[in-house]
Symmetry: C2
Subunit: 444 residues, 2 copies
Amino acid sequence: MAPALRYPVRAVPLAFLGAIAVATAVLMLPASRAGEGHAPFLTALFTATSAVCVTGLNVTDTPEYWSTFGHVVITVATQIGGYGIMTLSMLLALLVSQRLRLRNRLLLQAESSGLSLGNVRLLLIRGALIILVCETLIALVLTGRLWGAYDYPPGRALWYGVFHAVQAFNNCGFAIFDNSLTGFVGDWWICLPITLGVIGGSIGFPVIFELQRQWRQPSRWSVQTRLTVGGSITLLVVGFVAMLAIEWTNVRTFGPLNVPTKVLAAFVQGAMPRSGGFNSVDYSLMHDETIAITIGLMFVGGGSASTAGGIKVTTFFLLAFVIWAEIRGEPDVVIGRRRIPTATQRQAITIALIGVAIAVMGTLLLLTFTRGLRFHWALFEVVSAFATAGLSSGVTGDLPAAGQVTLIVLMYVGRLGTILAASAIALNTRHRLYRYPEERPIVG
Amino acid sequence: MAPALRYPVRAVPLAFLGAIAVATAVLMLPASRAGEGHAPFLTALFTATSAVCVTGLNVTDTPEYWSTFGHVVITVATQIGGYGIMTLSMLLALLVSQRLRLRNRLLLQAESSGLSLGNVRLLLIRGALIILVCETLIALVLTGRLWGAYDYPPGRALWYGVFHAVQAFNNCGFAIFDNSLTGFVGDWWICLPITLGVIGGSIGFPVIFELQRQWRQPSRWSVQTRLTVGGSITLLVVGFVAMLAIEWTNVRTFGPLNVPTKVLAAFVQGAMPRSGGFNSVDYSLMHDETIAITIGLMFVGGGSASTAGGIKVTTFFLLAFVIWAEIRGEPDVVIGRRRIPTATQRQAITIALIGVAIAVMGTLLLLTFTRGLRFHWALFEVVSAFATAGLSSGVTGDLPAAGQVTLIVLMYVGRLGTILAASAIALNTRHRLYRYPEERPIVG
Ligand SMILES: [K+]
Ligand SMILES: [K+]
C-alpha cells in the first residue's frame, strides 16, 4: 500500500476505538444512570459501541436505565459516530479513487464520481449542513406531533424530537419511547419522518452530493448513484411487499391492524433493515419467512459512505450484474454504458464472501456461548450487529457476557471492516514480472 | 452455444427426467410396496427422484414401506443415477474443455486435465469397472460382518451388503437397516466401509483417473486434483473435529458413547455431509452449532463429476484462492504454479451465488408451506436436498405435499443444475465489437 495512505487507513479504526473508550467512560459515571450506582463496564461498553457504531442494539431498557444525561451522551456518541463514518468513508473512497486515477492516468479512464479531494474542508462542511438540515426537519415534525397530539410539555417534546431525529438520520436505533415505536404503529406523523430519516441517512454523501447537482438528469448519473438509488428502491419494495404479504394475517403482528396501519407498518418494518434500528411491530413475533428476508435485507444494508451498514447496496447489485453478465456470456460487466473493472468485481466478491464468513462465524460463536438460543435468532442478532442494523428479537440483554462481547466485536468489525477492507484491497496491488500458464479446473 | 453441444446439454436433464418417470411408475406397482395396495404417486415420485438423483431423502420408512422388489428398484435407480451423473458430467466437462481448447488453440494454453474425449467408450468402461470393484469390496466386508457377527442368514447378509454398498458408493443414502446406521454406531466393520465408500464416490472420475496414473507424484497433479484432494481432506478434518468438539458431552448424541465409538461416530457424521445420506447418530438431537457446520459442509459438497452434490469442493476452494489473492493484492489467482483464468473465477462465483439464492428461496418456500417447521430444520432439509446429501432431521415424511414437491424440485435442480449451468456458462461466450469506458463504483 502507498505509504501516504497507510496513515488514514490505520487512523480511522483508532479514532473509533477512542470515541468508544470516551463514551464508555462517561456512561460509567453515576450521573449517566437513572437508578442507583453506576453502569457496569460491559453494559457501558456495549451501549457506547452500539452508539458510536450507529447500531442501536441495546442490553438495557434505554428509557428506564439511563438518565437524561445518559441519553445526551448516547445522542452525542451517535452523532459523532454517524458524522465520522459518513465523512471518513467518503474521504477514504476519494483517496483511493484519486490514487488509482494517478496510477492509471495513461489509460484515460472515464471516472465520473464527480467528487474530488480538492477541498476537503468544503466537503466536511457541506456534509455537516446536510445532516443539520435533515435532522432539524425530522425533529420539528416529531416535536410538533408529540406536543400537539400526545400532550407532551414543549421542552420534553423538543428533546424527544431531537433525540429520535439524531437516531433516525444516523441510522442508529436507540429509542426513549417505551418499546421503540410500537406505541405509534398507526401514527404517520411519527413513523414517517423517522423512516424517511433512516432512508436519507442510508444513501451516503457521494450519492447525495451528486443528486443535489443533477437529480433531474438520471442519464448522467454515475454507476455509484445508479446502483445506490435503483438498489435502495428495489430493496425497499422487497421489504414492503414481503411484510405485507407474509404478515398480513399474522394475529400477533399485522393481523389486528386496520389497512392503512398495515401499509404504514409494512413500510416502516420493510425499510428498517436498511439499517435503522427502530421497530413499530415486534420482529420477534413475525413468521420465520419474514425473519429470513429481514436477515437478507440487513446483510445487504445501505449505500456506501453512509451511516448504514452491511456489505452495501452497491456491492450486492454489482454482484447481481456480474452474474447476469456471466449467464448471458457477456465478456464485460456493463452498468449504464460503463464497464466495471475486473478488480472492482473481485473486490465486491471478496467483501461479500468475507461478510458471509463473519456472519457464519459470529452465529457459531453466539450459539456456543448461549445454549438454548434458537438458531435463527442467533443469526438475526449477529447479522443485525455486523450490519449495524440494530434490530433485535429482544434477546440481546439476556445474552451471557461472552455473547455480548461477540456482538460488540461484530458491531466494530461490521462498521469499519468492509470500508477499510475495500480501501486496503483496492490500493494493495502487487505487480508480477512473470505469469504462470493457465489451467482451467472444472467448477460446479 | 455451439450447436454440437446444445444436444448433450439438453439431453442430460431429459435422460434424468425419463429415469425418474420410469422409476416412479415401477415404484407405484403393488409389488413394490410391502403393505396393501400401491404407493401414492407423490410418495413414488419423491422416492424415485431421491434415488435417481442419489440423494437418499425419504418420505417413508424405507425398510418397512417397500417390498424387497421395491428395494431392488431403488438399488437399480440409484446405480443408474450415480453412474449417469458421474459419466455424463465428466463427458460434459471434457466437451467443454475440448471446445475451449479448440477456440483458444493459438494461445498455446497448458491445459493438463490429462483426459481427452479420444475414447469415450473406454472411459465409460473404466468408470463402470471402478464402480464395480469398489462396490464389491464394500459389499463383501458388509456381508461378512452381518453374517459373522449379527447372525444374518447368508443370502440376507449378501443382499444387505450389496444394497448398502450401492447406496454408499453412489452417495445416495437409503438404508434398509432400522434407522439408518444408528444400530451400528460402534461397529467399525459396518460404519467404516460405508463411510469410505461415500468418500470414494465423492471424488469423481477425472480425479480418480488422474490418481490412478500418478498418485505418487503430487507435484504433477492438475489443479482439479489438487483442489479436490486437498479440499476434501480439509472438509473431512473440519467435520471430524467439529463433531468431536461440539458433541463430545451432548448427552443426547455422543455423551453416552465410549471414546473409540465417539471417534468413529465423529468420522462418520463428519464425512456424511460430503454427501452420503447415512447417519449413525441422530442429527436432529445435535447442537445448533453442529447443524450449522453440517449445513455448510453439505452446501460445499464433494468433487466435480462425482456422485456427490453441492456447489463442489473445487468451486468453494477456488473462491477461497480468489479471495486470498485479492487480500494479498496479487493480480493473478495462482494454484500450484497454474494461473486460473478470470472466466473460470467468474463461473465459480456464479455457481456459488446461484446456489445461495436457490437455498434461500427453497427455505422461504418450505417455511411458507409448512407452518411450525423450525427455521434451521427447513434450511437443513433444503440444503440437504439441493446438495443431494440426504441427511434429515426426520421431518421429510411429515411435510405437506407442497413441501415435498419443493424438495423434489430442489433435488433435481441441485443434481443437474450446477453441472449444466457450469457447462452452459463456460460455452456461452459472446464477443463484443466495442467496449464501454470503465467506471469504478465504491464497494463495501
Ligand atoms: K442501526
Ligand atoms: K446423498
